[in-house]
């Protein structure tokens, strides 16, 4: 799966968690907490929904250790 597709699919996950948001401008550098207002609960939800979408498992995962959208994409790509 290409990086653009991963970021697009992750964007769909994030949109479900933040339905009021406009995520068309999300990039690798977009920060999860500072820019998207995610907290520990929404980060966990992001991980759980990503598992389903990408068919992967977040092992020993500390969702809150991800800082940017790029960090999550790279983690997912490493599991695919």
């Amino acid at each position: 799966m290409k990086h653009e597709n991963v970021i697009q699919t992750l964007g769909e996950v994030l949109k479900k968690l933040k339905p009021e948001s406009d995520l068309s401008m999300v990039t690798d550098e977009t920060r999860l907490v500072e820019d998207l207002g995610m907290d520990s609960l929404t980060l966990l939800m992001m991980a759980l929904q990503s598992e389903k979408k990408f068919g992967i498992r977040f092992e020993n995962m500390q969702a809150s250790s991800f800082r940017t959208v790029g960090d999550v994409c790279r983690y997912i790509e490493g599991k695919l």
Binding site: K18, S21, M25, V26, T30, E34, D35, L36, G37, L41
Partner: protein, 488 residues
């Protein structure tokens, strides 16, 4: 002489002897005439009105009401700027046995018409035409004989004031004679001289703080007042009139402090001994400058329109910082889930024509202030926030923005701050701290200081955005920051 009563003990024995608790406003007239009939009551730039003259003119104003068919119990709107006419209209309506509905005179006619409609006023003292309201003459010229005051009971309604707080919903709180006069009595207590002072009528009389703590506490203490109808006249007025006491909201106290930096301390006229603030939290640092550098005692209080203005007063701002002080007498307090609830002589009767809001304002007969707080071990009340300003997060957590703002406001260079949920460029609502700072200040230094404060907060209440604004926040007529609705 120590009486064992905290507020009474602030006064000298001579002043204690002058304290009288009235239960109806009509008792104010004989009290004034018996004790200080020939002292100045209202001080205008071109003439002095003694207490005797004030009550004579008030009696003529009562004739205006009688001749215009106003009946006891009718609600009469008083839509006048701070002036002699406003004072006489208020005193005439209330001592006639009608209800004075104090409507802010500033703003468009439609807003005043809406206020009259909400309060059910068919007649008004107002300088401009109002649709659906019959105007009464704002002068007693040509009236030959006065009308005696009515016989009132403490439970009779006497005055009503609008309260919307920062929510924007217009409600009109109706007060009984007992509640109003309880507020007036408590308002007189102060550590400085309390009687025979020179007040300046800066807060609009349409605001309960202006009428109770400024106007009526002035009259019941034999003091005089200079009504201020135009804010542009402040500097000239203070210099010429030389007030001894100022009743202000904290923002005005801060503004006057800035004026004193520009013009020197003589901007206050040279005789100012005391400032009383209310309506918003009083920053300690402003109080410290007044008290320690200018030798002007600054005291502060807490209250709401629904509590006849006064609940508590703090005369020890430098030692009991951030407290709103000790509770005044004649009321009981309880805390339900931190909410301050009150019962007592100072509590309002109802919101006029609004049984739903009235019912919601009370719980088992206790008035729900909507403020959160606690009493410390010495009996000092602390406010930690307002229920309606709480920000609720989707994870069920909630925060009180004022608690963060109080910390941010202490950062040097910050003039005002507001914490709210605000959308960023992604359309995501984030906990945001907006700051109005001195333009000369280093914004990066302030931003870092806010981030430091934020790091010490629980995760869910951390500030995600710090925005700087070039001008002060929009404010309500009481100079409180107008808050957006806070949905996370």
């Amino acid at each position: 002489m120590k009486t064992g009563n905290y507020f009474m003990d602030l006064m000298t024995p001579e002043e204690q002897a002058l304290m009288v608790r009235l239960s109806v406003i009509t008792d104010l007239e004989p009290l004034c005439l018996e004790r200080w009939a020939d002292r100045p009551a209202v001080n205008l730039p071109d003439r002095i009105i003694t207490y005797r003259a004030l009550w004579e003119e008030t009696a003529l104003f009562r004739t205006v009401l009688a001749e215009n068919g106003v009946r006891r119990g009718d609600r009469v709107a008083v839509v006048l700027p701070n002036s002699l006419e406003c004072i006489e209209a208020f005193l005439a309506v209330t001592t006639y046995g009608a209800v004075a509905v104090m409507v802010p005179p500033a703003g468009p006619a439609a807003a005043k018409e809406e206020s009259c409609r909400v309060a059910g006023c068919e007649v008004a003292f107002c300088a401009e035409a109002l649709q659906g309201v019959r105007l009464l003459p704002c002068s007693a010229d040509g009236i030959a004989a006065g009308t005696p005051a009515a016989k009132l009971n403490p439970e009779d309604a006497v005055a009503a004031f609008f309260t919307g707080g920062t929510s924007g919903t217009l409600k009109c709180a109706l007060l009984s004679n007992r509640a109003l006069m309880t507020g007036v009595y408590n308002g007189i207590f102060s550590p400085g001289p309390s009687f025979f002072q020179k007040y300046y009528g800066l807060i609009p009389f349409s605001h309960i703080f202006g009428t109770v703590r400024n106007l009526l506490s002035c009259l019941q203490s034999g003091s005089q007042i200079r009504p201020c109808s135009d804010m542009n006249k402040i500097v000239a007025d203070l210099k010429e009139y030389k007030p001894t006491i100022l009743v202000l909201i904290p923002a005005l106290a801060a503004m006057l402090l800035n004026l004193s930096k520009l013009y020197g301390p003589e901007v206050f006229g040279g005789e100012l001994k005391q400032i009383v603030t209310g309506g918003a939290p009083q920053p300690t640092e402003i109080a410290r400058i007044y008290i320690e550098k200018l030798g002007i005692n600054l005291v502060s209080g807490y209250g709401l329109t629904e509590t006849a203005n006064l609940v508590s007063g703090n005369v020890e701002l430098l030692t009991k910082q951030d407290s709103v002080g000790r509770l005044y007498d004649f009321q009981q307090i309880r805390f339900v889930d931190q909410e301050i609830q009150l019962k007592g002589d100072n509590i309002f009767m109802e919101y006029i024509n609004n049984p739903e809001e009235t019912a919601a304002a009370f719980s088992d007969g206790w008035f729900r202030t909507g403020d959160l707080g606690y009493l410390d071990e010495d009996g000092y009340l602390f406010i930690t926030g307002r229920i309606k300003n709480l920000i609720y997060f989707t994870n069920g957590e909630k925060i009180c923005p004022e608690q963060i703002e109080a910390k941010v406001d202490r950062i040097p260079g910050v003039k005002a701050s507001m914490v709210s949920m605000k959308a960023n460029s992604f359309g995501v609502k984030l906990l945001t701290c907006e700051i109005f700072a001195d333009p000369a200040e280093d914004q990066e230094r302030i931003r870092l200081a806010v981030e430091k404060i934020s790091r010490d907060l629980p995760d869910f209440s951390r500030i995600h955005q710090v925005l700087f604004r070039g001008e002060d926040f929009p404010r309500t007529s009481a100079m409180k920051i107008r808050r957006p609705s806070n949905e996370a």
